[in-house]
């Protein structure tokens, strides 16, 4: 088999174009993933933000849940942002787990309504030497992790980013900010070499940048 060299973005619902735009900016080959056959040979898969109940239902209906579990056994690296974290968690407060691939406990919609969505800046030494802007939108909280899981960022008594050998979870949205550091970090975790950039912040990014990315189904 040829060496895996692509990152997929699960393209069922949510912030797909935003992640593809960021991956393009760091020069890593990437594509939207919608069908079972498209998972083969991926180095990594991003499960984007969206609504976890919707994503979970679609994963089950179309049998993609089993495909992701199988590819994970074969070594596929995974990154869940926001709703993606809920799908990947082994434990969900008040509901049953979905994919259950990282040993963390997550509480859905833990901050309140959209009026409680917010932005902030933090240092995440393992990911970047610069301070990083973060965007939280009706975010979940990681309330606890098992010892096998490494905490990357803790804020005010909850965990915002964590990882194990194969899986990264962030309750915030790096793809909704000019910050490329988390995408570079995940690309390296997948064994890919992101384009060496200067700063973690891409000054050419705007909040409309996602609109340049065509939807997968518009390409045909």
């Amino acid at each position: 088999m040829a060496p895996a060299a692509e990152i997929g973005v699960l393209d069922l619902q949510g912030g797909v174009q935003e992640h593809l735009d960021h991956l393009q900016r760091i020069g890593v080959p990437a594509k939207p993933i919608k069908q079972a056959r498209e998972f083969r040979g991926l180095a990594g898969l991003i499960i984007p933000g969206g609504e976890s109940t919707c994503l979970a239902r679609l994963l089950t209906i179309f049998g993609l849940r089993e495909v992701i579990l199988e590819e994970h056994r074969r070594g596929l690296k995974l990154w869940g942002t926001c709703a993606g974290t809920i799908l990947l968690a082994k434990e969900n407060v008040g509901e049953s787990p979905h994919l259950g691939l990282i040993d963390v406990s997550v509480q859905r919609n833990a901050f309140g309504s959209q009026l409680d969505s917010f932005q902030c800046r933090v240092q995440v030494p393992e990911v970047s030497t610069e301070s990083i802007p973060l965007t939280f939108i009706r975010a979940p909280k990681i309330v606890s992790v098992r010892p096998a899981v490494n905490v990357l960022l803790e804020i005010d008594g909850y965990i915002a980013a964590a990882e194990d050998e194969q899986t990264l979870v962030t309750i915030f949205h790096p793809e909704l900010t000019p910050n490329l550091a988390f995408h570079r970090y995940f690309a390296r975790k997948c064994g890919l070499q992101p384009q060496a950039g200067g700063s973690a912040i891409d000054p050419t990014w705007t909040r409309q940048s996602w609109t340049h990315i065509q939807r997968s189904s518009d390409l045909s």
Binding site: K34, G50, C54, R138
Partner: protein
């Protein structure tokens, strides 16, 4: 509203892309919608089909109903305020729902002014029939746009007309040299700066959903293939003979809108769609899309 609040509000709409937002009139329906995979619910006292039937003044729903729906689900909850009724909007913001729909489905409270949405922290979605209307609402602070369609009819023809009109006007705009944009903006009622931005992007600068008359999985996929970012279904789910099945089917069809095999699977055995109306036979005064400007 601070710039970053507006950014967060447009970004919540981005996270709803590829999803279906369903009208619900009680917590039980809200739970059915969430289980079926809706990305948000619109909390109402009556769906548009019933508003049409019953007539009279249609207003914001009772806040206690919206509160009960909010407590029943974890997905975002939206609710409608009348066009121009900024106090209904203040009340909905105080209730801390996730999105306000300034909607022509309710009886307008002001025939001259829409709500100045830039004064609010909470996000707004507004209906539009064409590019000018969409950009005027964005200029007022809307963080998300939807087609108006003709709500409560189960007839997708007006939503198609509105989306095709927006697409055509964006293509026209893109074909113009910059010096002709001012004239085009003047003639079509486009705010100039947003006209330039739309020309550059080749699409609306915010998320644009389809709404008004969507009744089947095929209707949803049709609007997605026309370029909509997601779908509102009003009366189409809970006025059909099997709401659970239909809700799931519309969610499937919206996610796989360009995959005829999956659309076929989604369309089989759904029972009766909602009772529908021929828009040509509705008296002019009873059409909803003409409300607001």
């Amino acid at each position: 509203m601070t710039e970053n609040r507006y950014e967060l509000n447009t970004q919540l709409a981005q996270m709803l892309k590829g999803g279906v937002i369903m009208d619900v009139v009680n917590p039980e329906q809200a739970i059915i919608a969430q289980e079926a995979g809706a990305v948000a619910v619109m909390a109402l006292e009556r769906v548009p089909a019933d508003i049409r039937k019953e007539g009279g003044v249609a207003r914001m729903a009772d806040p206690s109903l919206i509160k009960h729906i909010k407590e029943a689900v974890t997905i975002p909850v939206m609710a409608k305020a009348r066009i121009g009724h900024f106090v209904e909007a203040q009340i909905l913001q105080a209730l801390a729902i996730d999105y306000i729909d300034e909607s022509e489905v309710l009886t307008p409270a002001d025939e001259e002014c829409h709500i100045d949405k830039s004064r609010f922290s909470i996000p707004f979605v507004c209906g539009a029939r064409n590019l000018g209307e969409a950009l005027r609402r964005i200029a007022e602070g809307a963080a998300m746009i939807r087609t108006k369609g003709e709500a409560g009819t189960g007839n997708v023809v007006e939503a198609v007309r509105h989306m095709r009109t927006m697409n055509r006007e964006i293509r026209q705009l893109q074909s113009l040299p910059d010096e002709e944009v001012m004239g085009f903006a003047k003639n079509n009622g486009l705010p100039y700066e947003l006209a330039l931005e739309t020309k550059r992007l080749g699409r609306l600068p915010v998320v644009n959903f389809a709404a008004g008359g969507i009744a089947t999985p095929a209707d949803a996929a049709l609007m997605m293939q026309l370029g909509c970012d997601g779908i509102f279904v009003g009366s189409g789910i809970f006025k059909s003979s099997d709401p659970v099945k239909r809700a799931r089917a519309v969610v499937m069809a919206t996610a796989y809108f360009a995959d005829p095999q999956k659309l076929l699977e989604a369309s089989v055995g759904l029972g009766e769609a909602m009772p529908s109306l021929d828009i040509a036979k509705i008296p002019e005064a009873e059409l909803l899309a003409g409300r607001g400007w």
